[in-house]
């Protein structure tokens, strides 16, 4: 469960990235976050992860009041969330396998579990054959898929994906999206920031549309662009 109450985010250089955001994402939902470049999607996701702190307002994630939690607790919040970062954030010194395994190691998972889960996750994103290479030996799309594998390997209760298919061809994009839908079907809350109009349009999931920092549309079974009706639905 994710809830934003009157959230405002102003970056130090006075850029207002988010303004008066009120939104509630229930457990088990699948949400697309859309909006122009620079509209605040990544900022929205960073706030969930406490990568950034809101300037105003309150944020609840998985029962934590994110905006007021102790530093000590942050790692546990983050572990419960699988994240595909827009800039991937793979560890350059670790192989693909170790990058994915790392998300489990920090939870002190059993080696047996790791040996079972990691190859499975790599298989799901189609990178079984690249397990032992380093990130800088991968193509852009392959790196992105490693990031996806790492995000799902722990069976997190929330999955956040920032532009997870930006470097992927349509076919692979579809596979990754289907993977996210699958995971959602097994009960995980999924929030995806994306620009893939065709995918958003055909999946008919909830769509939250940001424009210059405010939510201009929040639609169940929505589409990428506002449909002809011009009936903007505000919550």
């Amino acid at each position: 469960m994710i809830e934003f109450i009157k959230v405002k985010k102003v970056y130090p250089n006075d850029v207002v990235a988010l303004n008066n955001i009120n939104v509630k994402i229930n457990k088990g939902e699948f949400v697309f976050l859309v909006g122009q470049s620079g509209s605040g999607k990544s900022t929205f996701l960073k706030l969930i992860l406490k990568e950034e702190d809101p300037t105003e307002g309150t944020i609840f994630v998985n029962g934590y009041e994110v905006s007021a939690m102790k530093r000590r607790d942050i790692p546990y919040l983050r572990r419960s969330i699988g994240v595909v970062f827009q800039d991937f954030r793979l560890l350059p010194d670790k192989t693909v396998y170790e990058n994915v395994a790392f998300a489990m190691r920090i939870t002190e998972a059993l080696p047996k579990e790791i040996r079972r889960q990691v190859p499975m996750a790599l298989g799901l994103v189609g990178l079984s054959r690249k397990a032992n290479v380093f990130p800088n030996q991968l193509s852009g799309g392959e790196q992105q898929r490693v990031a996806v594998a790492r995000a799902i390997v722990n069976n997190p209760s929330i999955l956040i994906a920032d532009e997870p298919t930006g470097n992927l061809d349509p076919e692979t994009s579809w596979e990754i999206m289907k993977l996210l839908v699958d995971i959602n079907n097994r009960g995980t809350t999924v929030v995806v920031a994306t620009h893939e109009k065709s995918i958003v349009d055909s999946l008919k999931k909830r769509v939250i549309c940001l424009d210059r920092g405010t939510i201009i549309r929040d639609q169940q079974k929505g589409t990428y662009e506002n449909e002809g009706t011009h009936n903007k639905i505000y919550i």
Partner: protein, 299 residues
């Protein structure tokens, strides 16, 4: 923390030394270099102190007995001297020896002494003190002994040497402390730079949900390992060259036929040095890592 995590962390730390070998090499060699400097200082200071200790024993007091004192009386004086805890060495100068000395002093004019015999001269004792710092006191004590006529000693020289050795002591402690601080500083600076070069990885780990200690420990292991290697290498290098120099120098001194200066053997001082090197290398490696990482963990 579970055993498997400890194992993993240890492995990571060791592997990282190899993975970042360019940086590790730079750190290790910087640590080695600064410890060698520290070692050079330490060895020089140890040797100076050693020789100062010897110097302190050099200046002699001379205790003159009453010329009329009989052999028994002389014996008693000698015993009193030997029993004195401030005295390191007692050498008797008999009347005859004193006479010879005067003759020597007069050199070609020794014929002045013709017709005289040694009986008019007093028996005396040449005395070496354990510590010349309390020479004043000792003189007073000695003068109280029955049968002692007078006590001569190079007061000025003793005071100077005493002052001088105190100074050398202070200087060597201050210098060692300064060198220590500077070495710690250089080593921790180096560690800081290597951590800086990996700040992005640290933040990535943090974003994925690693706890601070999970991130820190491999760095600490790495820091200790690098410090350990640096300490070991510098110890071996210092020891090797010190031994060579010591040999060569000692030989020279033997040839020159002097024992004013002697050098310590490496195995007389290597233990405290090893302890210090290891302490500096490992502790600074570990704490340097902990401190340098801190700022990058705040994400």
């Amino acid at each position: 923390m579970k055993v498997r995590t400890i194992k993993y962390i240890f492995n990571e730390g060791v592997k990282n030394v190899y993975k970042n070998r360019l940086m590790s090499l730079a750190s290790i060699s910087t640590i080695t270099a600064s410890l060698i400097i520290f070692g050079i200082f330490y060895l020089i200071i140890a040797n100076i102190n050693h020789n100062i200790m010897k110097l302190k024993e050099q200046p002699e007091m001379q205790v003159f007995c009453n010329p009329e004192l009989d052999d028994m009386g002389v014996k008693l004086v000698q015993n009193a001297l030997i029993r004195n805890s401030n005295i390191a060495e007692v050498t008797m100068v008999t009347k005859e020896e004193a006479f010879e000395k005067i003759k020597e002093m007069l050199d070609e004019d020794a014929d002045l002494l013709e017709g005289l015999d040694s009986s008019f001269l007093p028996v005396s004792f040449i005395i070496k003190l354990k510590d010349i710092a309390n020479s004043g006191e000792v003189v007073k004590e000695l003068k109280k002994i029955n049968g002692v006529d007078k006590v001569t000693y190079p007061q000025k020289t003793m005071e100077i040497i005493s002052k001088f050795t105190n100074w050398i002591h202070v200087i060597s402690i201050v210098l060692t402390a300064i060198l220590l601080i500077i070495s710690v500083f250089i080593i921790s600076n180096t560690i800081k730079l290597t951590v800086f070069a990996r700040r992005k990885e640290i933040s990535i780990m943090k974003y994925i949900g690693a706890t601070n200690w999970f991130i820190r420990w491999p760095f600490i292991v790495e820091g200790i390992l690098i410090g350990f290697i640096g300490a070991a290498v510098s110890f071996v290098i210092s020891g090797f060259f010190y031994n060579r120099i010591e040999n060569r120098f000692t030989q020279e001194l033997i040839q020159a036929g002097t024992d004013i200066i002697t050098l310590l053997k490496f195995n007389e001082i290597n233990l405290p040095m090893l302890v210090m090197f290891m302490f500096l290398g490992c502790t600074v490696g570990a704490f340097g890592s902990i401190i340098s990482i801190r700022r990058y963990l705040k994400v």
